[in-house]
Subunit: 108 residues, 2 copies
C-alpha cells in the first residue's frame, strides 16, 4: 500500500486537494489561499506530487496543478479493500456505509 496516509495526513494538503477538486490552479493561486509562505506551500505540493496525487504542468512562468484522480481512485480502492479485509466486510454494506453513512450492521 502506498503512503497516501502521509499525503492526506496534513490539513493544509487536504485543503489544497479540495481546492483542486474545483479545477486546476496555479501555484500562485494556491499560495494566495493560505497564510503560509510560498516555499511552505511548495513543499506540500511536492509531497502530493511524490505520492502522485497531483500533477504539475508548466505554462510559461506558471505551474498549474491538477488532481490526479486516477491515483486517488487507486488509493481509495486500496483503503476500501484494506478495511474490507480487516473487518471481513461485505463490500456491499461498506459501500452503503460510505455513501449514505447508514446501515452499520456491525459484524465485528
Amino acid at each position: 500500500m502506498s503512503d497516501v496516509y502521509r499525503a492526506l495526513g496534513d490539513s493544509t494538503r487536504r485543503f489544497i486537494l479540495n481546492m483542486l477538486k474545483e479545477g486546476d490552479l496555479t501555484q500562485k493561486e494556491i499560495v494566495a489561499a493560505f497564510d503560509i509562505s510560498q516555499p511552505a506551500i511548495k513543499k506540500h505540493l511536492n509531497i502530493l506530487m511524490e505520492e502522485n496525487i497531483i500533477s504539475e504542468k508548466i505554462q510559461g512562468k506558471y505551474r498549474v496543478y491538477s488532481l490526479n484522480k486516477g491515483k486517488l481512485q487507486l488509493a481509495y480502492n486500496e483503503m476500501l479493500q484494506y478495511i474490507a479485509d480487516l473487518l471481513d466486510n461485505k463490500l456491499e454494506s461498506l459501500k452503503n456505509y460510505v455513501e449514505k453513512g447508514e446501515s452499520r450492521d456491525d459484524q465485528g
Copy 2:
C-alpha cells in the same frame, strides 16, 4: 474531524491493527512481533487507544488488546468519504474495481 490520519499514518500501527484482526493479543505478544522496544510499542498502543481504535483489558499482569472494529470502520469511513468527495465517486465502479481488480477507466 478526529485525527484518524495520525493514528493510521504509521505503518507499525497499521501492522498492529492487522495482528489484532486475528484476535486479541497481550502487549508482550505484540512487542515480540517487532524489532522495536517495548516502550516504543507502548506508545503506538497509547496512540491507538487515544483514538479508541483499540481497547485494553487488564488480566493479571497482562494487558490484553483488542480491535475496536466499529471505531476502525468509522475511521476508515471518514477517510474514504473524504476521498470519495474529492472524486465525486460512483461507488458502483469501485465495487468492480476492488472485487476484480480491473477496469481502470482513468477518468482523470
